[in-house]
């Protein structure tokens, strides 16, 4: 799966040098998050995988510190002591929309969907969510404070999200009726993160040719007209000099600084490339944390009702289709375990990358200051239940006491959303539909 080309090939392909890419990387003086002594950075990542899990092979039986990981969570074994499993949290939001729509649309917003015209396989049609999602809410909080402000605030990654905007494909909301589209093309994400720098590099690399051109054209025009052209060439020279200084200064920083993610070229957005795209996106996420581009990220693998065909696991059927099979269909049951285990591996990969990356200018690793929250729109695929929504946390961003299996016995997930806000240092009296917030944040997390 890892057919990464060499760093040099990558740089050749994108025409960007380390120097240029680092123009916007963690370089002091950009006016973003201050370099001075500040409280530790806290980060949160929400990873979404679709269509419910197989609870029996997902949730630990035990409660407390002493628990065994089941098959699906096995890939996370290395991070068991940095992990929380949160069983017994229910998405109670009713109203318009089918189970999948409310599953994803209310997951991070904790509030109903508007009436609308998108009709699912059951229930009533619906539109977008009536409220902001917790990731965007926290983003706004962080951006409002110069001490926690970053270049983007939040980044929304996707993997093979269908190219249509509807209730099933959007998890993040900037506000009522304002879905945020995840970027699922890694090259587009690269452009967003490093495009400005790449353009400077590109300009610097053609300026030589350009000067030649000026000299040639100068010979073609009368001496009276040359002054304008000479002024212009002088301007080109000035830009060239400026870029050279800038690029060489930045490459000094780069030699001790941060690596730019190495994207393999020409990875098309196709089902078969899901594993590769997933890694490319995660690598860029890690890099953007190192550069402090954002402290909030979402990572949406396909969509609610997603149909990835995991041929690399020997599974030809689409995930959603399989998820409707009864538990008695042993073949489907086994495949669903494998599919969810693969999602678990993705979470583990991100945890690993974060764990092995030191916190720039801080203590420990990125993982020590980042909490990954892996979740799903359904508790179980074939019942479409939104009880016992999978919530697995890894990492130390939220200051929770990790290394435990928790069982809440059926509380509204709004309370978890409130806990997340509190964990990030921005407590709220309620989140989403206040009817479900009366009992306050979840107890026993910290």
């Amino acid at each position: 799966m890892n057919r990464y080309l060499s760093r040099r090939d990558f740089l050749l392909k994108t025409g960007i040098s380390v120097a240029a890419a680092n123009l916007v990387l963690g370089v002091p003086g950009l006016g973003f998050a201050s370099q001075a002594e500040t409280p530790r950075k806290k980060r949160m990542v929400v990873i979404f995988s679709p269509n419910g899990v197989i609870p029996k092979h997902f949730w630990p039986d035990e409660e407390g510190k002493d628990f065994q990981l089941k098959r699906i969570l096995e890939p996370l074994a290395d991070y068991k002591d940095k992990m929380l499993t949160l069983h017994g949290i229910n998405n109670r939001i009713k109203g318009d929309g089918d189970g999948h729509m409310r599953g994803i649309g209310c997951l991070l917003t904790g509030i109903e969907l508007f009436p609308g015209d998108v009709q699912g396989g059951s229930d009533t049609p619906a539109g977008w969510s009536m409220g902001i999602s917790v990731d965007q809410h926290l983003r706004n909080q962080l951006q409002a404070d110069p001490a926690t402000q970053t270049r983007f605030g939040s980044l929304e990654f996707g993997v093979m999200v269908p190219d249509r905007a509807d209730t099933w494909t959007r998890m993040s909301y900037a506000g009522a009726n304002q879905p945020v589209a995840p970027i699922d093309n890694p090259y587009q994400m690269f452009d967003k993160l490093y495009g400005q720098a790449r353009n400077k590099e590109l300009l610097a690399s053609v300026l030589d040719n350009l000067s030649d051109d000026f000299r040639k054209v100068e010979q073609m025009i009368s001496s009276e007209d040359r002054r304008l052209l000479q002024d212009h060439l002088a301007m080109v020279r000035e830009v060239e000099k400026e870029l050279q200084t800038e690029l060489s200064r930045k490459s000094d920083v780069a030699s001790v600084g941060h690596a730019v993610p190495e994207l393999p070229p020409n990875v098309e957005e196709q089902n078969e490339n899901i594993p590769q795209i997933s890694r490319m996106q995660m690598d860029m996420m890690v890099n953007s944390f190192v550069a402090d581009f954002a402290r909030i990220a979402t990572f949406q693998i396909t969509n609610s009702v997603g149909q990835p065909r995991m041929k690399w696991l020997g599974i030809e059927e689409g995930h959603h289709e399989l998820s409707h099979e009864p538990d008695s269909n042993e073949d489907a049951y086994e495949k669903l375990i494998k599919i969810n285990t693969w999602y678990s591996e993705q979470v583990a990969y991100l945890a690993k990358r974060l764990a092995e990356t030191p916190e720039p200018g801080g203590q420990g690793s990125l993982l020590d200051n980042t909490t990954i929250i892996w979740t799903n729109e359904l508790g179980k695929g074939n019942s479409h239940t939104r009880d016992n929504i999978p919530f697995i946390m890894v990492g130390g961003g939220l200051d929770f006491e990790m290394g435990r299996s928790l069982k809440f016995g059926g509380v509204p997930h709004n309370r978890l959303l409130m806990s997340i806000c509190e964990g990030m240092g921005h407590p709220v009296p309620s989140f989403g539909n206040t009817d479900f917030c009366g009992d306050g944040v979840l107890t026993g997390l910290s």
């Binding site: 392909k13 015209d117 977008w128 030649d212 051109d213 073609m220 025009i221 052209l229």
Partner: protein, 795 residues
């Protein structure tokens, strides 16, 4: 909204200074029209006079004005240039010069000085003689850059020709998707503005489940920021600029989110394809009423349903409009010139190139690959051909096999492609290098090109502010068929009706009428209740439509701009201005023709938009109107007043009419030098009040609209009222010459004399002979500017 025009702030009279507005109007200095006035060789008698004048000038004038009239800092710093006749100068000198000692230089002495300065440096002829205009190199102006990039895109997909068809193509389906057997209605809708409620939109269509497909082209007449607004209670998706380029995605109808807005920069003279898929989906829950509309806020306008006039009922070729902001150009000569290099400008050309590169990667290259998929592709030959075509079009050349072209192709295409295996990156490199190159940015640096290429280059530059991108024009250049005047004119005739030329012509009219300074017209709400932004918008739309119709009618008669009795109106205009502005018919689009009711409608001259703009918020301003007429209509030079004046407040002189008040304030000798000319013209429009309504009385006194004008030759004309003024202007040599001069400068962006000292006279003569045909004038101007006589030089 910004209020940029000082005098219209004028809630308080004392805040308004005359000098403030005077300075907002560019002075047209180099008008070589007067060249004919002065004989090439002064006669002997004349030279005696000149010598006498020179002596007196040295002794009495030069200390303040400089030995060549160039001015002296701290004393009188302005250059002595202008278009007064020697007679007028003599009078001026006699009465005012030398300063504070006016009796020192009178009679024959004053006449001699007048003759001397007029001949030596003051007159247009003298200026041309002293410093003959030449065709100066200039970089692309902001507008030329914008247009050139739009045409570079258009080169690959073509461009829509002018059409009289208007409206939007509509196909109505029963059921929520496109199904040919369920197609119930196909028609042209004049606008998109429907409230179907919960009813069926047509026979055979289920009210609960239907689909309407709209497709059309949106015509933008001026460049600027447009806000596009769709209001829809149902699911809809809109593409804009190109079918496939999504603009609004409301695939999901959600709650009460029914308004969708996006602002976009549109480039004038282009038609933007769009389509809307509007879907009422059957649902278990209550069905909302189906309401949909397509509106816009055009630059300086207010929100309105996009009018039929701007819609074409089929989707034209894809269009690209640059979104990068470009800094404004020098306008010190009254027309835009690319003569300054700044960092801001250089950066903006980089941003523009990168923006175009992105669209080339996303749209042009995939399209090219589809069309050329059968071509050989060894060593990325397809990519190289595509990029060569980009470079050829951007540089306005044909790449051949000669060594120079090979080298150019090597540097601009192959070397860049070989640098990177990634196609997108190669395209970015080539586009950046090409669009930053002087070969693109300096269209007149083309001396090494064959005659026909240079002619095509100039035709596109003059007519479209752009580069030759149309296949037929490029072909004529390649075949070397743009050498003779006939060949060039025949191409120009083909180009003159193009929407790009139409847009450039509309911009000419706006410059000629100085309309850029007339926006945000505020009027005293007690005196003129109902004069609001909406009315102003309608008036502007009416004026533009009138201009467009007049110029693109068969006669294309300049005089009709000043004489036509019919115009365009809306119900809102009729409500404010009364029956004279009632539409001919009650039915039809919002903007409809008024009747020729025989009252005093005189084309644009007394159009309420112009009259309102050239007035204060509560009273008329004969000075503004006079300055406008003398500078813009008659093309004469005026100096700013020597010091700033605050207009007299009407409250202090309640018994005086505006005319009397202006006459009183401008009565001093020093004022009269200019105000004799200004007032004489402005007073003739006194029958039109501050909002352009006809009046016969002011404060129970009868309006006196008698006026006068002394033309370039010194001949005196008098008239009474707007109708006589209009007839005078329509037949005035000064007005014709001024219009031709302005048109030439606007289209060519060079002074006419740079193409021969008699260019302006020749063109004005042809203009007259053609029955003042504006279209014909544009063709003649293009022919002058595009005719290349010399062979290409070798570098």
């Amino acid at each position: 909204m910004n209020k940029t025009h000082n005098f219209r702030h004028g809630c308080v009279w004392t805040l308004c200074t005359v000098v403030a507005w005077m300075h907002t109007i560019p002075c047209i200095v180099a008008d070589e029209a007067a060249l004919q006035e002065t004989p090439a060789e002064p006669p002997t008698q004349h030279s005696v006079l000149l010598e006498r004048g020179a002596t007196i000038y040295r002794e009495q004038c030069a200390s303040c004005h400089g030995d060549q009239g160039q001015g002296v800092d701290g004393l009188y710093k302005d250059r002595l240039v202008g278009d007064d006749t020697t007679g007028e100068l003599t009078k001026l000198i006699t009465t005012t010069m030398p300063k504070d000692e006016a009796d020192q230089c009178v009679g024959e002495d004053a006449k001699a000085v007048a003759e001397f300065i007029h001949y030596s440096f003051y007159s247009d002829a003298a200026q041309i003689r002293n410093r003959p205009p030449r065709i100066g190199l200039a970089r692309l102006t902001a507008n030329q850059l914008r247009q050139s990039i739009a045409d570079l895109y258009a080169h690959f997909d073509g461009i829509v020709g002018p059409t009289r068809d208007r409206g939007v193509k509509a196909i109505y389906f029963n059921g929520h998707r496109w199904k040919n057997e369920e197609k119930k209605i196909e028609r042209v809708d004049p606008v998109i503005d429907f409230d179907f409620g919960r009813e069926s939109p047509g026979e055979g269509i289920d009210a609960k489940s239907f689909y309407i497909y709209w497709e059309g082209g949106l015509k933008a007449d001026v460049t600027g920021r447009y806000e596009i607004i769709v209001r829809s209670t149902c699911s809809f998706v809109m593409d804009f600029g190109k079918i496939g380029r999504q603009f609004f995605d409301n695939h999901v109808q959600s709650g009460d989110k029914t308004e969708f807005r996006q602002t976009v920069t549109l480039t004038a003279g282009r038609v933007y394809p769009f389509k809307i898929d509007f879907i009422q989906r059957e649902r278990k829950t209550e069905l909302p009423p189906a309401v949909v509309s397509l509106s816009w806020i055009p630059p300086r306008g207010v929100e309105e349903i996009i009018p039929t006039r701007q819609l074409i009922p089929y989707s034209p070729q894809a269009t690209f409009s640059l979104q990068t902001t470009l800094p404004p150009d020098d306008r010190s000569y009254g027309y835009e010139r690319g003569i300054a290099i700044s960092r801001e400008w250089d950066d903006s050309t980089t941003a523009a190139a990168l923006e175009f590169a992105d669209i080339a990667v996303a749209e042009l290259w995939p399209r090219y690959q589809r069309i050329h998929k059968k071509d050989a592709n060894e060593n990325r030959a397809q990519l190289r051909s595509f990029l060569a075509e980009v470079v050829e079009t951007a540089f306005r050349i044909s790449l051949n096999d000669d060594p120079g072209d090979k080298e150019l192709r090597q540097r601009h295409v192959d070397q860049q492609v070989d640098t990177t295996p990634d196609d997108a990156e190669a395209i970015r490199r080539v586009v950046l290098l090409a669009l930053k190159s002087p070969r693109f940015l300096y269209p007149l640096a083309d001396q090494t090109q064959p005659q026909s290429h240079r002619a095509a280059n100039r035709l596109a530059l003059v007519m479209f502010d752009s580069l030759p991108s149309d296949e037929w024009l490029q072909k004529l250049a390649r075949q070397d068929k743009l050498k003779t005047e006939e060949q060039i004119k025949s191409a120009a005739y083909r180009m003159v009706s193009d929407y790009r030329t139409q847009a450039k012509t509309l911009a000419l009219m706006h410059a000629w009428l100085n309309l850029d300074h007339l926006h945000d017209i505020n009027k005293d709400q007690q005196q003129f209740p109902g004069f609001n932004d909406e009315l102003e918008h309608d008036l502007r739309t009416s004026l533009n439509a009138f201009i467009e119709d007049t110029i693109w009618s068969d006669a294309s008669d300049f005089r009709q701009l000043l004489l036509a009795e019919r115009s365009y109106t809306t119900d809102r205009i009729a409500e404010f201005y009364g029956d004279a502005w009632k539409a001919e018919s009650d039915e039809g689009p919002r903007l409809r023709m008024t009747g020729a009711d025989g009252t005093a409608r005189l084309g644009l001259l007394n159009h309420p938009f112009l009259m309102s703009g050239l007035a204060y918020h509560d009273s008329t301003s004969p000075i503004h109107r006079g300055v406008f007429l003398i500078r813009y209509m008659l093309g004469r030079t005026l100096r700013p007043p020597a010091e700033a004046f605050t207009p007299l407040s009407p409250d202090l002189h309640p018994d005086l009419t505006t005319r009397e008040r202006v006459a009183l304030q401008t009565s001093p000798e020093g004022c009269q030098v200019c105000h004799l000319k200004i007032n004489g013209l402005g007073f003739a429009l006194e029958n039109y009040d501050a909002v352009g309504r006809f009046r016969t009385k002011e404060h129970s006194k009868n309006i006196d609209s008698a006026g006068r004008y002394a033309d370039r030759s010194g001949a005196e004309v008098s008239f009474s009222g707007a109708a006589e003024l209009a007839r005078f202007l329509a037949e005035s040599d000064d007005a014709h010459r001024s219009f031709v001069n302005r048109a030439f400068q606007h289209f060519v962006k060079q002074p006419p004399a740079a193409y021969g000292t008699d260019t302006l006279e020749k063109l004005t003569k042809k203009f007259r002979e053609s029955g003042y045909n504006i279209r014909e004038l544009i063709v003649q101007i293009a022919a002058v500017a595009a005719k290349i006589d010399n062979e290409p030089t070798t570098p």
